[in-house]
C-alpha cells in the first residue's frame, strides 16, 4: 500500500531505461525479415510465360539439359516454331502448348501413375467435353498436366522433404485453396508446414503424388491413414481433415452434416468465450478502478 508509492519512485528511472531497451528490442524484431510465407515458396513458373530466366534454369534440376532434349529439333520438321505473325503469338499459355508426353522418357513411373490418377481422368473428361464443344472452363480450372504442378525450367533438385512439401502445399492450393486452408488449420499442416516436422503428412502423403486420389472411398482412405497410424480402423477415416464443403458433391450429406456440426460448435464456443471473458474483464476493470479510487481518496 504505502510501500507501493515508495517503491514506485525508487524504480522509476530504471523503468525508463528498461522501457527504452524494450522499445529497442521491439524495433529490432520489427526490422527482422518476416518469416517465409507460402507465397515466397511458389515457383517462378507460377505465371506460365514464354520466356525463360536462364539463371534460374541453370540452377534447376534440368539445368544441364539442352533445349532440344525436351523441345525437339526444329530441323526435324516435327516441331514448328510458333508463327510470330499469328495474333495469338506469345498470348497462349505456354504450359498448354507443351506436349508433356515427352516427360515419360525419363519419368516413366510418375507418368504412368498420373495416367491412373484423378487428374488424368479430369483431363480425359475435359477433352471429351471440348470435342463436344462445351469446354468453357477458365484456365485456372482446367485439368492439370505435368507442367501445371511442376516447373520444367525452374524446379530445383535435392530439396529436403519439408522444402518439397511446403512448395507442394502452395502448388496444390492454387486449384484447391479450401483444402489447403483447412489442411493448414489441421495438426498435419501445422506440424509439417509451419514447424517443418518431416514426420508429419503433406498433401501427397495421403492423396498420393501422381495418383491424386480424393480418398472418398473408405478403403483407400484407411490405407492412407494406416501408413502413419497403424492402429487406425475404419472409424478413424471419418475424422474430418478438411472441414469444408467446397468441392464436396451434393449427395455427400454425411460429411456435410459433420462439417455443419463442427461449425455450429465453433460458433457456440466463440460466443461462450466472448461472453464469459467479456463479463469478467469488465468486472475486474471496474473493480480495479473502484479500489484505485478508494486508495487515492485515503491519501488525500
Amino acid at each position: 500500500m504505502n510501500a507501493f508509492m515508495v517503491k514506485s519512485k525508487k524504480w522509476l528511472p530504471e523503468q525508463k531505461s528498461f522501457g527504452r531497451s524494450l522499445l529497442f528490442c521491439l524495433m529490432l524484431f520489427a526490422a527482422l525479415p518476416s518469416p517465409r510465407s507460402l507465397e515466397a515458396a511458389i515457383t517462378p513458373d507460377g505465371q506460365p510465360g514464354w520466356f525463360v530466366d536462364m539463371g534460374l534454369f541453370a540452377a534447376s534440376a534440368h539445368g544441364t539439359f539442352s533445349c532440344e532434349q525436351c523441345h525437339g529439333d526444329m530441323k526435324q520438321g516435327q516441331t514448328m516454331h510458333p508463327d510470330s505473325e499469328n495474333p495469338t503469338f506469345l498470348k497462349a499459355y505456354a504450359n498448354r502448348e507443351y506436349d508433356y508426353r515427352r516427360c515419360q522418357s525419363c519419368h516413366r513411373p510418375s507418368y504412368e501413375q498420373y495416367l491412373e490418377g484423378a487428374h488424368a481422368k479430369a483431363l480425359l473428361k475435359e477433352q471429351t467435353d471440348s470435342a463436344v464443344g462445351s469446354n468453357t472452363l477458365p484456365e485456372s480450372k482446367k485439368a492439370p498436366t505435368c507442367g501445371s504442378c511442376h516447373s520444367g525450367h525452374y524446379a530445383r533438385a535435392h530439396l529436403s522433404r519439408v522444402e518439397i512439401g511446403r512448395e507442394m502445399v502452395s502448388v496444390c492450393g492454387k486449384c484447391h485453396p479450401a483444402q489447403t486452408a483447412t489442411y493448414l488449420d489441421n495438426y498435419h499442416g501445422k506440424a509439417a508446414v509451419n514447424l517443418g516436422d518431416k514426420n508429419a503428412a503433406f498433401c501427397t502423403d495421403c492423396h498420393g503424388a501422381h495418383h491424386s486420389v480424393s480418398l472418398k472411398d473408405k478403403k483407400t482412405a484407411l490405407a492412407a491413414c494406416q501408413r502413419c497410424h497403424p492402429d487406425a480402423t475404419e472409424g478413424f477415416t471419418q475424422v474430418v481433415i478438411h472441414p469444408t464443403i467446397k468441392d464436396l458433391p451434393e449427395n455427400d450429406t454425411q460429411k456435410r452434416a459433420h462439417v455443419a456440426l463442427i461449425r455450429v460448435v465453433t460458433v457456440l464456443m466463440s460466443i461462450l468465450v466472448i461472453l464469459v471473458v467479456g463479463f469478467f474483464y469488465g468486472h475486474s476493470f471496474v473493480w480495479l478502478l473502484r479500489e484505485l479510487h478508494e486508495k487515492l481518496r485515503k491519501h488525500k
Binding site: 509451419n194 471419418q238 464456443m269 480495479l288 473502484r290
Partner: protein, 229 residues
C-alpha cells in the same frame, strides 16, 4: 499501525501444505500447457515457430504438452482423492457455507459487490471463499476435466474413433481450443489482476504460498468466516 506491528499478528491457516503444493504444480503445468499448446495453434507466427524450434520441433512440442498435461491432471486426481479424504475421514463439509460449493448467496454477493464498484452498496460480508474465488476454482476444476477428456481424444484418436464417430475428434479439437483460449484469457488476466494488481493486495497475495492470513485481512476480506470460527 506501529503499535500493532510490535505484537506478532494473529495468523490463521488458509491453505493446507497439500493445497499450496498443488497450486504451485498447477501453475507450472498450466503455464507449460498454455505455451506449448499455443505454440502449435499459432505456429504460423514467428514467436510460436521460434519457441517450437527452441524445444526441438513439433515432436518435442507434443511431448512437452503431454508431459505438462500429466502433471496438471495428476493434480486434479490428487485433489479429488483429497476431497474424498476430507469428506470421509476428516468429516469435513464440502457443501457447507465455508466450502467452495456454489450457492445462491454467491449470485447475491456478486450483485452487491458490483453495487460497491459503483459506490452504491457496501462490500458483502464474504465467507471463507468469495464468489470470484469459487468461480476461479470451479472454472479450473471443470475446465481441467473437459480439457483432459478432449485432450485424450486428440492424444489417442485411433482408439476413440473406434468408440465414437470420427467427427468427435474434430469436436474435441474445437472444444480443446476454445476452452484453452477461455482458460488463458481468464487465468492470465483476471486471476493475475485479482491476486496481484488490485491496490488492496498489490504486489502479491502470499496466502496461497505460505498458507497464512492475518486477523486484519480476515476481518477485511472474509468477515463471514471469522464470525463462524
Amino acid at each position: 499501525m506501529t503499535t500493532q506491528e510490535k505484537q506478532p499478528p494473529e495468523t490463521f491457516v488458509r491453505f493446507s501444505p497439500l493445497q499450496r503444493l498443488l497450486h504451485v504444480a498447477v501453475m507450472i503445468g498450466f503455464t507449460g500447457l498454455a505455451i506449448t499448446g499455443f505454440s502449435l495453434k499459432f505456429s504460423d507466427q514467428w514467436w510460436a515457430g521460434g519457441f517450437a524450434w527452441l524445444v526441438g520441433g513439433a515432436g518435442h512440442l507434443a511431448y512437452l504438452h503431454r508431459f505438462f498435461a500429466v502433471i496438471t491432471y495428476g493434480c486434479v486426481l490428487v485433489h479429488i482423492l483429497w476431497l474424498f479424504y476430507f469428506k470421509l475421514v476428516l468429516k469435513g463439509s464440502i457443501t457447507g457455507p465455508q466450502s467452495l460449493f456454489p450457492k445462491v448467496q454467491d449470485i447475491k454477493d456478486m450483485f452487491q459487490h458490483m453495487g460497491y464498484f459503483f459506490g452504491k452498496r457496501r462490500i458483502p460480508r464474504f465467507n471463507r471463499f468469495t464468489y470470484w474465488e469459487k468461480f476461479d476454482y470451479l472454472a479450473l476444476f471443470l475446465g481441467m476435466n473437459t480439457m483432459g477428456l478432449t485432450g485424450l481424444f486428440l492424444w489417442f484418436p485411433e482408439f476413440f474413433s473406434t468408440l465414437l464417430p470420427g467427427y468427435f475428434i474434430n469436436l474435441a479439437q474445437v472444444l480443446h481450443l476454445y476452452e484453452a483460449i477461455l482458460a488463458v484469457a481468464l487465468k492470465f488476466v483476471v486471476h493475475i489482476l485479482t491476486t496481484h494488481l488490485r491496490p488492496e493486495i498489490f504486489p502479491v497475495d502470499k496466502s496461497i504460498f505460505n498458507g497464512k492470513t492475518t486477523r486484519e485481512k480476515m476481518m477485511h476480506e472474509h468477515p463471514g468466516e471469522l464470525d463462524s470460527l
